[in-house]
């Protein structure tokens, strides 16, 4: 543990996140009136003959953070990846049912997958910056969509890095390789890269599982900032994290056929304090999973 970590721990701010679940860490304003941004209806995903998701329904609300929790292999990532059709890339993957973004079904015929992926950005489990400069990492997306003017790109890069709370740390070394940053900085760079194309929804697949507690805290704080402008869906194995950051929580589990199912979906404080389903209660209290 380095000195910085220790100092932060001593302040008690970080200590609380590592000792016990604390749902008062961030101010929650789960908003039941928020419009539905992503609507999943009876979604089934198959890998070959294997049914990975068995009829999932989920209404992700706008400008809210929705956490998907559940034991390993219950289809959390599969569900998340159906939101930007990353499942298309898996050989043998088939999708039935509906995922709609602002009411438009992503799986309807004639939908441009490029357009979906611009509107639904993604941050992965391990930081995966391109082996390019910090600047080029962030500018990659805008360039894809035809932004060529230097001044425009510079503005986008600066704004994205600021939104990802990374600007102050890298503004003097934008030409350096993205790989030269620390793990936490790399992950924020990946967030900046996703923000640069101004998505409406950001998917995060265990974004902090490869990071140390301080970097994790930074990512979580950042998520609170981002939810003002974006709808966030996060998959996490870390129950405390789900409790800390999210407004809504979806609990998933596999059934007897090893297919993933949605067990319960509600406001986070309800899921963590008075869940309706016994299995959810067992899971969030750490009795299994």
């Amino acid at each position: 543990m380095n000195t910085q970590t220790r100092t932060l721990l001593n302040t008690g701010k970080a200590a609380s996140i590592m000792t016990k679940p604390s749902i008062t860490q961030f101010e929650h304003k789960s908003n039941n009136d928020a419009p539905v941004k992503v609507d999943v209806k009876n979604l089934q995903v198959f890998y070959g003959k294997f049914r990975a998701l068995a009829g999932v329904d989920l209404a992700v609300r706008e400008n809210q953070i929705t956490a998907i929790i559940g034991p390993s292999g219950c289809g959390k990532s599969t569900l998340l990846r159906s939101f930007n059709r990353m499942n298309d890339l898996t050989a043998g993957c088939r999708v039935q049912g509906e995922v709609s973004l602002d009411g438009d079904n992503l799986y309807a015929a004639g939908v441009d997958v490029v357009d979906i992926r611009r509107r639904v950005g993604m941050v992965f489990q391990r930081p995966n910056p391109f082996p390019k400069s910090i600047y080029d990492n962030v500018a990659y997306g805008p360039r894809l969509y035809g932004v060529r003017r230097r001044t425009d790109l510079q503005e986008i890069v600066e704004r994205s890095l600021k939104s990802a709370a990374l600007w102050d740390e890298v503004k003097d070394k934008l030409g350096q390789s993205g790989m030269s940053l620390s793990g936490g900085q790399q992950q924020r760079l990946c967030i900046a890269r996703a923000l640069a194309v101004e998505p409406e929804v950001i998917l995060m697949d265990e974004p902090a599982s490869a990071l140390d507690p301080i970097s994790t805290l930074k990512i979580e704080e950042l998520m609170q900032e981002l939810k003002r402008n974006y709808t966030i869906v996060i998959v996490t194995h870390n129950m405390q994290q789900a409790a800390r950051v999210s407004d809504y929580t979806a609990m998933m589990m596999i059934d007897e056929q090893r297919a993933g199912r949605m067990i319960e979906y509600d406001q986070t404080n309800i899921i963590f304090t008075r869940p309706k389903d016994k299995r959810t209660e067992d899971y969030v209290t750490g009795r299994f999973g």
Binding site: N84, M86, L89, V113, V114, D115, I116, R117, R118, G121, M122, F124, R126, N128, P129, F130, P131, K132, Y140, G141, L144, Y145, Q176, S177, M179, S180, L181, C190, R193, A194, V197
Partner: protein, 314 residues
């Protein structure tokens, strides 16, 4: 009942000494064999320098050969020929090799991907003289004359499997997560290949190019049947002559490529079997130049790759 700890107690001391002796023996054996493996390299380098070094001078690089039995002259024709043939071979082999590697790396289990990999392995096992013979039948015979072009194509066939396999391996080493990151931003597959996979694998791919070129530059057998040799090949003269007679750039380049040329290994082979001591000495000097040429390709490649790697990793 025997307990393991008792056995260990009884034999422990002896075993520890045995182990130390065995360790020392094996360590010195590996060190000795490592040194032995280095002997041929240093032996070849020092011997070639000792035999050929004294015959290298400026003329050697700037002059055409003198008639037999007359001292002096150089191997400018062979140096230029080697460069021309190598460039041709690189131009013919790199684009198809790299593109095929992208396909094979992306679709390893498709029928075509499997076929590409299998035929590459077969191709790399074909003796180079056979490739030379095929190039002779397909290019030299119909054209009616030997040419740098035919040699370039023969060497390109030789380089193709090296380029294809190294590029494919390097592309496979690029983490899957980088591809995903690019695709998740909405990039098309080709765009991802071009602007993420290719740059990420570039160092390894370039090493493959240079290794392939170094390999081809040292080949003799296919050139015997395709470029033949040409004591009067002089690019400067071809250009001068072309300009004087107002030829177009295409005609000049055509003349450069469409006539017999020499190369360093070919010259070495021819000089080494001649009765004149000057030629034999020059053969050693050619060997030295060829060695330096190939070694410097390797060294430049590695140095450049190191600079690039350092820049990428910060």
């Amino acid at each position: 009942m025997t307990r393991f700890s008792e056995v260990l107690k009884r034999s422990g001391r002896m075993r520890s000494r045995q182990r130390k002796i065995a360790n020392a023996f094996m360590l010195s054996l590996t060190a000795f064999l490592t040194a032995l493996a280095l002997v041929p390299l240093f032996w070849i380098i020092t011997y070639v320098i000792a035999r050929g070094g004294q015959y290298i001078n400026l003329d050697f690089f700037t002059q055409l050969p003198r008639p037999m039995g007359i001292a002096g002259g150089g191997v400018l024709h062979a140096i230029e020929g080697t460069i021309v043939i190598s460039i041709l071979a690189a131009l013919f082999s790199i684009p198809p090799g790299v593109l095929a590697a992208f396909y094979a790396a992306r679709n390893p289990n498709s029928p075509l991907g499997v076929a590409v990999r299998f035929s590459t392995d077969v191709l790399s096992g074909i003796p180079s003289i056979v490739i030379g013979l095929v190039a002779y039948a397909l290019i030299v015979q119909p054209q009616g004359h030997y040419s740098a072009l035919a040699g370039g194509i023969a060497l390109a066939i030789l380089m193709l499997p090296i380029i294809l396999r190294t590029t494919e391996e390097m592309l496979k080493l690029v983490p899957h997560s980088l591809r995903e990151a690019s695709l998740a931003l909405g990039a098309a597959e080709w765009k991802t290949s071009l602007s993420v996979l290719f740059p990420a694998a570039l160092n390894g791919i370039l090493t493959g190019f240079l290794l392939a070129i170094a390999r081809a530059a040292g080949e003799t057998a296919p050139l015997l049947l395709t470029t033949l040799g040409n004591d009067h090949y002089d690019i400067a003269q071809i250009i001068r002559g072309g300009l004087q007679t107002h030829q177009s750039i295409f005609q000049i380049v055509g003349r450069m490529l469409n006539q017999p040329v020499d190369s360093l290994p070919l010259t070495l082979w021819k000089y080494a079997q001649q009765p004149y001591p000057e030629r034999i000495n020059q053969a050693w000097a050619v060997a030295l130049v060829l060695m330096i040429f190939v070694l410097s390709i390797n060294i430049i490649a590695r140095a450049w790759i190191q600079v690039r790697t350092r820049r990428l990793q910060g």
